[in-house]
Amino acid sequence: MSDRLASRFVAPGQGPAFDHGDKFKVEKLNFFYGDFNALTDITVSVKRHAVTAFIGPSGCGKSTFLRCLNRMNDLIPGTRIEGRITLDDEDVYGPGVDPVDLRRRVGMIFQQPNPFPMSIYDNVAYGPKLHGVRKKSELDDIVEESLKRANVWKEVKDIMGRGGLTLSGGQQQRLCIARVLAVEPEVLLMDEPCSAIDPTSVQKVEDLMAELKDRITIVIVTHNMQQAARVSDFTAFFLQEQAGEPAHLIEYDRTATLFTTPKDRRTEDYITGRFG
């Protein structure tokens, strides 16, 4: 079985996935939209300095779960969680915890690129300015550094004054990545970042993920299984058995293992394309 499966995917060629310990530990997470239990009993870890992929059919709660990790769901009225999520062993939902500071440490990239209606420079400088950086030279350095790490510096260095919205989709998304990198997060949560951009940019985003993971923990929600297999070290498979039912975590393992020798029948069905 494993040979047949292995042949369908590009084997993860970026070296063995080292286990640097848990950045996030999620224990028995239940998530509610009002009365509706959208996520049930999720227990999983997100490993430090690695890329973890969340895969599964659309609408099954992967993005919702992602948003639990940086408490973005707090912005949606009527939601609540039960269970525990810890970041570096500290409870993210603990009493008095400041979600605003959490979101600086745990950055997010959205499916639809969403640059602010400002210049490219101002977009990237927004984060540092928020957190008190004032000197122009310091901001200039941070902006340049972030745009370089996001693999987009060469394309925009001469048009920094132009509006962020004038860029192409792929460039906008990389601009958004630069924007997040400028606040030096420890974690980068990426919610289907490549689904709305052109293939060249997809390549560039995947390249930068490989470069970033030395310093940053990355979680990517993706539809695209080949991409998950390409870029990630660990993979978690989510499934909602039927519409209207809560979603479960079916399987979590190193990517190489999950894609070649999945333990659950449903995982195998999904990655061989039988559904979803």
């Binding site: 940086n70 973005m72 912005l75 605003v100 969403n114 927004y126 928020l130 004038t166 924007r179 997040v180």
Partner: protein, 282 residues
């Protein structure tokens, strides 16, 4: 379907659409008639002398300058008073408010203020500002009364402008570790600003054209107000008095034209800002 039914359908459709066209033509025609009439009859009056000199004598010969000054003064003052309060109120309603009794009450109050007949607002200004507090007929009393009238208008347009800022832009800001106020003040309000300004300018046009409120709070004395406690006669009030007295109709036409031009000016400026904003946002 049989031929006769098909024909009937088509005939009815044609007639109905014709009637609808007529309705639109009538509406545009009404506007055109009013504008044309005022312009044609008033254009002769518009000379620099008319605009910049004072009315003389019993027959109001001469110009209308004091009314222009009074109108501009009270409009600007009213906008200065209302706009900050209205914008912050809209920020509350759009960003902080949670559905509940308090918000419902606020909205009901705002809608009520918006529907108050202007003459009631005028008497209110008379009772509270002119007589109650003792400001007497003054620009300030009029501006305060006007500001209650304008408040719900600006709150509504500002709230709509704020809600028009897409959610994912805000989420981009929150995702970077921004607090609510940082997001609102650095991202949402600047984004919404052109539309907010459009709403403010349109409200200013409304303020400039108000008669009933101003008559009972600023009086009818011909005066070019200097301090906010001075009385004055605004353009709409002057127009009404001249029309009723009927002694200097040409001047009345001139005043009417000036007033229409002023309001048109506000309207077109607001429209221009709106269009430029839409083009920039691509």
């Amino acid at each position: 379907m049989r031929t006769r039914e098909r024909m009937n359908k088509r005939v009815t459709n044609g007639i109905a659409l014709g009637v609808i066209w007529l309705a639109a033509i009538a509406t545009v025609g009404a506007l055109g008639t009013i504008l044309l009439y005022v312009i044609v009859n008033g254009i002769g009056q518009i000379t620099p002398a008319f605009i910049f000199t004072w009315p003389q004598g019993v027959n109001m010969e001469g110009g209308v300058w004091p009314t222009i000054q009074a109108t501009v003064y009270v409009t600007v003052l009213a906008m200065v008073i209302t706009t900050p309060i209205a914008v912050l109120a809209a920020v509350y309603l759009a960003e902080y408010a949670v559905q509940g009794r308090l918000v419902s009450t606020i909205r009901f109050a705002a809608d009520s203020l918006a529907s108050v007949p202007s003459i009631v607002m005028g008497l209110f200004g008379l009772a509270l500002f002119v007589e109650g507090i003792g400001m007497g007929f003054s620009v300030l009393a009029a501006a305060l009364a006007l500001s209650f009238l304008l408040l719900p208008i600006i709150v509504r347009t500002t709230e709509e402008s704020i809600r028009a800022v897409p959610k994912y832009i805000r989420w981009g800001s929150y995702g970077l570790g921004a607090s609510k106020w940082q997001t609102v003040s650095r991202i949402v309000l600047p984004s919404a600003m052109p539309r907010i300004i459009t709403g403010v300018i349109l409200a200013a046009g409304r303020a400039a054209g108000e008669t009933a409120v101003v008559i009972y709070t600023m009086g009818t004395m011909i005066n070019a107000p200097f301090s906010p406690f001075d009385p004055g006669r605004t353009m709409p009030v002057h127009l009404m008095l001249m029309a009723q007295e009927g002694i200097n109709m040409p001047a009345a036409y001139g005043e009417a034209l000036l007033l229409v031009l002023m309001v048109l000016g506000f309207n077109l400026t607001a429209r221009y800002i709106g269009r430029r904003n839409r083009r920039m946002q691509g």
